[in-house]
């Protein structure tokens, strides 16, 4: 038997189930070995049992991360939508504010925005609840990216669709509700799902202002037991339990809608 057949799939064909299993195990083993080798060179032994007694705090942190992400997703969808519409507005101040917002947020690191919003804007306007501040900062940050996703969706709508909406006598609000929204929701859903994974990861930066989510919990745990490696490997694993299903879901959506959009 040709040994190559086990590792190389045919051009334009899907890998066979046996190939998938063998090669996936192989790839994971290679990565595992690399880390084990690194640990050996450092002469370290990992002991994950050290984490067990912090399980309640981990559960709390996990819950906070999930809550932060969900609330921020909803709020950033609203902000992103308003900004996308705003940037296309004929009223120039609204259009410019929307564009500057998107440029500024996308063009600067989130760590700087976290400090800026929390210590200056947050303090000035009396937002002292850290969870609330965290949600606001994260939503404002992600809203700019979602705004671009929506803008791309709106611009991808064929001009004739809008002209037809006008021709049948729809008012601008109706055109948005009955024509533009239903069309961009389908088209932007995969990107939005992907953005949700980003929100979950980006929420880790809120540990900087001591929102006790997963990352902050891990920092606190490692400060107590000094098991830095175990703590951060476990932290990565926890984030993956959230982002991996979303990434699978995104792939599924992409596939589904790429077929539906064919003409």
């Amino acid at each position: 038997m040709d040994i190559r057949k086990l590792f190389v799939k045919k051009e334009n064909e899907k890998a066979k189930p046996a190939q998938v299993i063998v090669n996936m195990v192989l790839a994971l083993a290679a990565i595992y070995l690399f880390f084990m080798l690194s640990l050996k060179r450092l002469d370290m032994k990992l002991d994950f049992s050290l984490l067990w007694k912090f399980r309640i705090r981990y559960l709390q942190g996990y819950k906070t991360t999930v809550m932060l992400s969900i609330v921020s997703l909803i709020l950033s969808l609203v902000i992103g939508f308003i900004s996308a519409i705003g940037s296309r507005s004929n009223i120039l101040p609204i259009s410019y504010i929307s564009r500057i917002y998107v440029q500024f947020i996308r063009g600067t690191p989130m760590i700087m925005q976290v400090y800026l919003f929390f210590y200056i804007v947050g303090t000035a306007w009396g937002i002292s609840n850290r969870f609330l501040a965290g949600v606001l900062i994260l939503s404002i940050f992600e809203g700019a990216y979602i705004s671009e996703i929506f803008r791309g969706g709106i611009e991808s709508i064929d001009g004739t669709q809008l002209e037809a909406a006008k021709a049948i006598g729809l008012e601008p609000g109706q055109t948005m509700r009955l024509v533009i929204l239903p069309q961009i929701i389908k088209r932007t859903l995969p990107s939005l799902a992907g953005q949700f994974a980003s929100i979950i990861k980006d929420s880790s930066l809120l540990s900087l202002i001591s929102v006790i989510e997963l990352t902050q919990t891990s920092r606190e745990v490692s400060a107590t037991n000094f098991a830095v490696f175990e703590v951060y490997m476990f932290l990565g694993l926890l984030y993956l339990t959230l982002t991996f299903p979303i990434s699978m879901f995104t792939k599924y959506l992409e596939k589904r809608f790429s077929y539906e959009n064919r003409t």
Binding site: E163, K166, I168, L170
Partner: protein, 245 residues
Amino acid sequence: MKIELKSVTKSFSDRNEVLRDITVEEDFGALAIIGPSGSGKSTLLRILGGLILPTSGEVIIDGQRLQFEEKYLIGHRRNVGFVFQAKGLFNHLTGRQNITMPLIHVHGYGKKEADDVADMLLERFGLMNDADKLPAELSGGQQQRIAIARAVATRPKLLLLDEPTSALDPELTNEVLDMIKELRNEGLNIILVTHEMGFAKKACDKIFFLYEGRLLERGSSYEFFSSPKTPQSAAFLSKILEWNV
């Protein structure tokens, strides 16, 4: 039906004048607007449909002068039907939903009433099998017929069509033209931009011939096709009819 145009001009900022000083008065049942590409045909049709504004001039349809402000024009658009060259159906809605959407959301029909009107039209024009398909699943000819059904579902007095068959394969052209002819026979007033000279000649009583933004010739279509009066229209006709069998 009667239309009057008084010194209608249109220029887009990035181009020269698309329509130059068009003044005309015409009684018609079916009016074909013909002319070479870029002569301003579609622009004129869109002005008549209230989709774009002329740079200057007046448009009077059956004694009613179009007021070029959005509020009035929305009302005007609701009273005329408009069919685009292609892709005019909403691609997230099925054939039937495309017909019922304006009825429900613009003309205040109930869902049941709107469905009845849609089914009647779909039945009549042999589109029942396509009613629940999305536009992407329909042939170009079926799409155009549903677009026409949507435009006439609201019972407009005037139907405007912008090259309704020019994106279609030749064998699908006739099913669309037959439908337009049938509607005309029922007394619907029609203005269409077209390259189908056979249809313009046989099914339309009047002709506008546009050339570089000017209305060079107008009047009875029979006369136009038997004896074009300007060198440009004669040249256009001989060119477009060159390969006719």
